[in-house]
C-alpha cells in the first residue's frame, strides 16, 4: 500500500538561501513531487549531498540528509545503502562535485549498479565560488578562471554514463519540474543506479546557458515514437546530440541486471544495521582453530 505523503510532510523549517530564479528551486520542487507521487514518507529517504549551492537541498526538504564534502557524497551514500538497503537513497550534487573532483567515485558507482538515485545539478558553471568555469562549461565559456574563454572541451555526462555501465541514464531540465519529477520518480523506481543529469540555469554566473537558451533547444526523447531507451546504440547517438537541438528524458534503461546489494549474501535477510552483534562465542572459538 502506498502511504499518503503530501508536499506539506516534506516541508523543511529551513528557508532556502538560493538566489531568486535559481534552477535549484525547480529541482527541489521536482524532488518533492516525486516523493509525493511515489508515497515515500520522509523517514524512509536519505539524501546525500556534496558542497555547492544545490547541495544545500537536503536542508530544504524534510527528510534525512547528509551534507558532506565537495565531490564525496557518492561513496558515503554507497556505504549507507549497504548498511541500510531498505532506505531510498538519493544523491544530490553538482557538476563540480560529480564531474570534477568526485569523478572517480562516479565512474565506479556506475559499474556497481547499486540501487541509488543520483541527481546532478548541472549549471555548467561554479556558482557558490562565484563564477569559475566547470567541467561541463562549453568550450569558449568566459569566466573568472577562463577570461579568454575555456580551451577545454566539456564533459559529456550522458556518454560517460553509458560507457561506464549505468543502467538508467536520464537528463532533465529545472525549468520543467513536472517532467523532472517524473524522471526522478522513475529513477527511484529503477532497480539499480540511476543518473539524472539536470540542466539547472544559474541566473547570476552563467549568462549563456539561460532558461531561454535551454527552452529554445531542448526536446523530449519520449515524444519520438521511434526512440527506444532499451537500445544502447540509439542512446549513444542521442548522447552526442548538442547544439540547436538537445534531448532530455530517459536516454537509456536496462532493467535486467542485479543490483550490488542483491549480490551480497550478508544482505539477503535483513539490513546490515539490524544484524545482532557481537557474533556468537562458539563461532568465534571455531575461528581460532584456523590458526592452530
Amino acid at each position: 500500500m502506498v502511504a499518503q505523503v503530501t508536499m506539506k510532510d516534506l516541508q523543511s523549517p529551513v528557508e532556502p538561501t538560493w538566489c531568486p530564479g535559481c534552477g535549484d528551486y525547480g529541482i527541489l520542487n521536482a524532488v518533492k513531487r516525486a516523493l509525493v507521487q511515489l508515497g515515500i514518507p520522509p523517514h524512509q529517504v536519505a539524501f546525500f549531498s556534496g558542497i555547492g549551492c544545490g547541495s544545500k537541498l537536503p536542508d530544504y526538504i524534510r527528510a534525512n540528509g547528509f551534507n558532506s564534502l565537495h565531490g564525496r557524497p557518492v561513496p558515503i551514500a554507497q556505504g549507507f545503502k549497504l548498511a541500510h538497503h531498505d532506505m531510498v537513497v538519493i544523491v544530490v550534487d553538482g557538476d563540480g562535485d560529480n564531474y570534477g573532483i568526485g569523478g572517480n567515485h562516479w565512474l565506479h558507482v556506475m559499474r556497481r549498479n547499486i540501487n541509488i538515485t543520483h541527481i546532478v545539478q548541472n549549471n555548467m558553471v561554479y556558482g557558490l565560488t562565484k563564477g569559475q568555469y566547470a567541467p561541463t562549461s562549453m568550450k569558449g565559456f568566459v569566466s573568472s578562471t577562463s577570461p579568454e574563454g575555456t580551451i577545454e572541451w566539456p564533459i559529456n555526462p550522458i556518454a560517460i554514463a553509458l560507457a561506464a555501465g549505468a543502467t538508467f541514464v536520464a537528463r532533465g531540465f529545472a525549468g520543467d519540474p513536472k517532467h523532472l519529477a517524473d524522471l526522478i520518480a522513475k529513477g527511484i523506481q529503477h532497480k539499480g543506479y540511476a543518473l539524472i543529469d539536470v540542466f539547472q540555469p544559474c541566473v547570476i554566473f552563467n549568462r549563456i546557458n539561460t532558461y531561454d537558451w535551454f527552452r529554445e533547444r531542448i526536446y523530449k526523447l519520449e515524444d519520438d515514437p521511434n526512440y527506444d531507451p532499451h537500445d544502447k546504440r540509439m542512446a549513444w547517438e542521442k548522447a552526442h546530440e548538442w547544439g540547436d537541438r538537445i534531448p532530455i528524458g530517459i536516454f537509456y534503461i536496462n532493467e535486467d541486471l542485479p543490483t550490488l546489494e542483491e549480490q551480497i549474501p550478508a544482505l539477503s535477510e535483513k539490513p546490515l544495521y539490524q544484524h545482532e552483534i557481537p557474533p556468537k562465542l562458539e563461532d568465534l572459538e571455531a575461528l581460532k582453530l584456523m590458526f592452530v
Binding site: H43, G65, P75, A83, H108, E285
Partner: protein, 594 residues
C-alpha cells in the same frame, strides 16, 4: 646440546615458496608445544629477487627476532652469499647439492656445509621439483631431530583436503626420505635440537593483521572496506575470507578516499565500520577523517605503517606515522589513536577501538606497522579470550532505528542529533525512524544538524566545545603507559607499537648485564591523562625512547604534552624492524654519552 632455542632462516627467490615453507615449519613447531616468532622479508616483486623467512624457536613466548641464526636453509646460491655472515659458529647451511656453493668459504666461518640431494628426492619420490621446499624443511627437521609427525600434520592440512591426499602423500614421502638422510648424515654434527612438549598449552599461530581481524569481528564490526595497500592488504583479505561465515559486508573500493567515506556511510547507518590502509592511503583519507570528526561519525581506521615518504619502501617497516595520524585532518576535532604492540594487543585494542569510536562518536585510528602486521607469533589459545570482548561491547548513546520502544522512551520532545549535553555526547539515532528525521552536515551545523548558514559565532563556539569536550571525558577510558620490569630502575625504555617486543628483550638483556632497566609501553597515544604520564616519567631516573622512525616521534609527542625530554633516543629508519641486539648496541653508545 642446546635444546629448544634456535633461530632458522630460509632464503630464496620469490616464487620458490620461501614464505609458505617458513610459515608451515613455524606452525609445525608451534603444534609441538614450542613458541615461535616468524618474520619475513620480501621484495616488491612477484618472481625473482631475494626473499627470506626467519623462524625463532623457544620454550617461552617470543616477541622479537634475533639477527644471529644457527641454521640457514638456502634455496638458491644468493641466500648463502647474503646470509652466511649471520650464521653463528657451529651453525649449518642446508642446500641442494646441485647449487654452486663454496664449501670452503662456509667452513672458513666455522659453519658446517650440509649439501643434500633435495631436488633429486623431490623429483624421484614426489614427482615434482616444487617439493624441494618440503625436502628442505624436512632435512632441517632431521638435523634438529624434531619429531617429523608435526611437519607431516601441517602438510596434510595444507594439501590433504583441498587437492586430494595424493599430493600430501607424495610430499610426505619426500619429507621422510629427506629427514632420514639429513639425520643420518648430519644430525650428530649439529648442536641445536628441538624436542616437543606435548602437554604444553595448545597454541595459535597468527600475525598482527589476522589478530586485528579477529578483534574486529569479535567486536561486531559488520562493514569493512579498503583499497589494497601493503602491508594492510592481508587484513582486508582476511575480512573478505570471513565475510560468509560472519555475515559481513566487505568491499574493495576505487580508492582510499572512497574507502573511508564508505565506512562513514555505513557507520552513519548504525553499523560498526572500519577501513584499513598504510600511510599513503591514509594521506588520501585525511579529508574524510575530518568529516567524521565534524559529523561525529564513529569509524575505525587501521593504519599499518611502512616507510615513506611517498611510496617509500613498500615491503619494509617503519613507525613514521605517529605524528601524522595524531594531526591529520583540517580543523580541530576529537579522535583517538591506539598502538597495539603484540598479537594479543592487536585483538583487544582493535575491539576496544570500536567501543571508543561509538561511545565518543569520533574516528579512532589503530596504528600498526609491517613488522607487527606480518610477523607470525605463537600464543596460547587461552590468551585470546573472546568473552573479554563480547561481554564488553559498548555502543554508547546509540539507539537503532528499529528499536521503537527505546526511541519512544528517549524522545519526549523531538530529536536533535547534535543536542548539547554536559559530556558533549549527543543521542545517536541513525536515519530510519519517523520520530528522528534529521540532517547532518560537515559544514558547521546547528544542534538539529542543519548547516548554520549564518555561520554564527556563538553556535560555533558551543559546537567546538561540545566536540572537544568528548576528548576530556574520553580520558577516563584511556590507559596510562604500561610498565614492564622492575619498579625502580636506573634506565627506563619508552616505546610504542611494534617496538614493544624487541625492546622487552633488550630490557631483559640489560638487566642480565647488571643495568637495572624497565620499560614503559604507550598503547594509548591520544587522548591521555598527561598529568599522570608526567608524574610517571618524572619518577624515572633516565628515560630513553625506542622507536622505528627518524625523529623519535613519541618522545616529541610526550614533550609537547608534558614538557619532558628523554635522556636520549634509539631510532631506526632503514626499513628494518628493531631487534634486541640493535637496541642494546645503540643504548651502549648512548649511555656512554649520557
Amino acid at each position: 646440546m642446546t635444546k629448544n632455542s634456535v633461530n632458522i632462516k630460509l632464503g630464496g627467490e620469490a616464487g620458490q615458496g620461501v614464505e609458505s615453507s617458513g610459515m608451515g615449519f613455524a606452525r609445525a613447531i608451534a603444534r609441538s608445544g614450542l613458541h615461535i616468532f616468524g618474520v619475513q622479508d620480501y621484495m616488491s616483486r612477484i618472481r625473482g629477487g631475494h626473499n627470506w623467512y626467519q623462524v625463532r624457536v623457544s620454550e617461552r613466548p617470543l616477541y622479537a627476532h634475533e639477527p644471529k641464526i644457527q641454521l640457514l636453509l638456502a634455496f638458491d646460491e644468493r641466500t648463502v652469499r647474503e646470509h652466511l655472515d649471520e650464521v653463528v659458529e657451529g651453525g649449518a647451511v642446508i642446500y641442494d647439492e646441485g647449487l654452486k656453493v663454496d664449501e670452503d668459504e662456509i667452513k672458513s666461518k666455522g659453519v658446517i656445509p650440509m649439501p643434500m640431494p633435495l631436488l633429486k628426492l623431490a623429483e624421484e619420490l614426489g614427482g615434482s621439483k616444487l617439493m624441494l621446499n618440503t625436502a628442505a624443511v624436512a632435512a632441517a627437521a632431521g638435523i634438529l631431530e624434531f619429531d617429523l609427525s608435526y611437519p607431516e600434520s601441517v602438510i596434510r592440512d595444507s594439501f590433504g583436503r583441498r587437492k586430494g591426499s595424493e599430493i600430501a602423500d607424495r610430499n610426505i614421502r619426500v619429507a621422510n626420505a629427506a629427514y632420514e638422510e639429513a639425520r643420518r648424515r648430519y644430525a650428530h654434527l649439529f648442536e641445536w635440537k628441538l624436542e616437543a612438549i606435548p602437554d604444553a598449552p595448545k597454541k595459535m599461530v597468527l600475525n598482527g593483521n589476522q589478530a586485528l581481524g579477529l578483534g574486529a569481528i569479535a567486536a561486531g564490526c559488520k562493514f569493512c572496506c579498503g583499497y589494497p595497500m601493503t602491508p594492510a592488504s592481508s587484513l582486508l583479505e582476511f575480512m573478505f575470507a570471513q565475510a560468509r561465515r560472519f555475515n559481513l559486508v566487505v568491499r574493495q573500493i576505487e580508492d582510499e578516499i572512497g574507502a573511508l567515506l564508505h565506512a562513514i556511510g555505513a557507520a552513519h547507518a548504525g553499523v560498526r565500520a572500519m577501513t584499513c590502509t598504510s600511510g599513503g592511503g591514509f594521506s588520501l583519507m585525511v579529508e574524510a577523517l575530518s568529516l567524521a570528526g565534524s559529523t561525529e561519525t564513529p569509524v575505525v581506521v587501521v593504519v599499518a605503517q611502512r616507510p615513506g615518504p611517498a611510496t617509500g619502501m613498500p615491503t619494509r617497516t617503519e613507525q613514521g606515522e605517529l605524528l601524522f595520524t595524531l594531526f591529520a585532518g583540517h580543523g580541530e576535532f576529537p579522535r583517538a589513536v591506539l598502538a597495539p604492540g603484540s598479537v594479543e594487543q592487536c585483538v583487544y585494542e582493535m575491539a576496544r577501538a570500536f567501543n571508543l569510536a561509538e561511545k565518543y562518536q569520533m574516528p579512532v585510528i589503530v596504528l600498526t606497522d609491517a613488522f607487527l602486521a606480518n610477523s607470525l607469533r605463537s600464543v596460547d589459545m587461552d590468551a585470546i579470550d573472546f568473552r573479554k570482548i563480547t561481554e564488553n561491547i559498548d555502543r554508547g548513546k546509540l539507539i537503532l532505528p528499529h528499536e521503537h520502544e527505546k526511541i519512544d522512551e528517549a524522545l519526549k520532545d523531538g530529536y536533535r542529533r547534535y543536542e548539547f549535553f554536559e559530556d558533549g555526547i549527543s543521542l545517536r539515532i541513525p536515519p530510519g525512524h519517523p520520530k528522528a528525521i534529521y540532517s547532518v552536515a560537515g559544514e558547521e551545523h546547528t544542534p538539529e544538524g542543519f548547516i548554520d548558514w549564518e555561520e554564527r559565532a556563538d553556535n560555533r563556539v558551543k559546537m567546538m566545545q561540545k566536540r572537544m569536550r568528548k576528548l576530556e571525558v574520553a580520558v577516563s577510558d584511556m590507559k596510562l603507559p604500561q610498565l614492564y620490569g622492575p619498579q625502580d630502575a636506573e634506565l627506563t625504555l619508552v616505546c610504542w607499537g611494534s617496538s614493544l617486543g624487541p625492546t622487552l628483550e633488550a630490557m631483559e638483556r640489560l638487566n642480565d648485564n647488571g643495568v637495572r632497566t624497565n620499560l614503559l609501553q604507550f598503547i594509548d597515544i591520544h587522548p591521555l591523562d598527561w598529568e599522570s604520564v608526567a608524574d610517571i616519567l618524572a619518577n624515572c631516573r633516565r628515560w630513553v625512547s625506542v622507536e622505528g622512525n627518524y625523529s623519535a616521534q613519541l618522545s616529541r609527542w610526550i614533550r609537547m604534552n608534558t614538557g619532558l625530554k628523554p635522556a636520549g633516543t634509539v631510532t631506526r629508519y632503514d626499513g628494518r624492524p628493531l631487534n634486541p641486539v640493535y637496541i642494546v648496541e645503540q643504548l651502549q653508545s648512548l649511555l656512554v654519552k649520557v
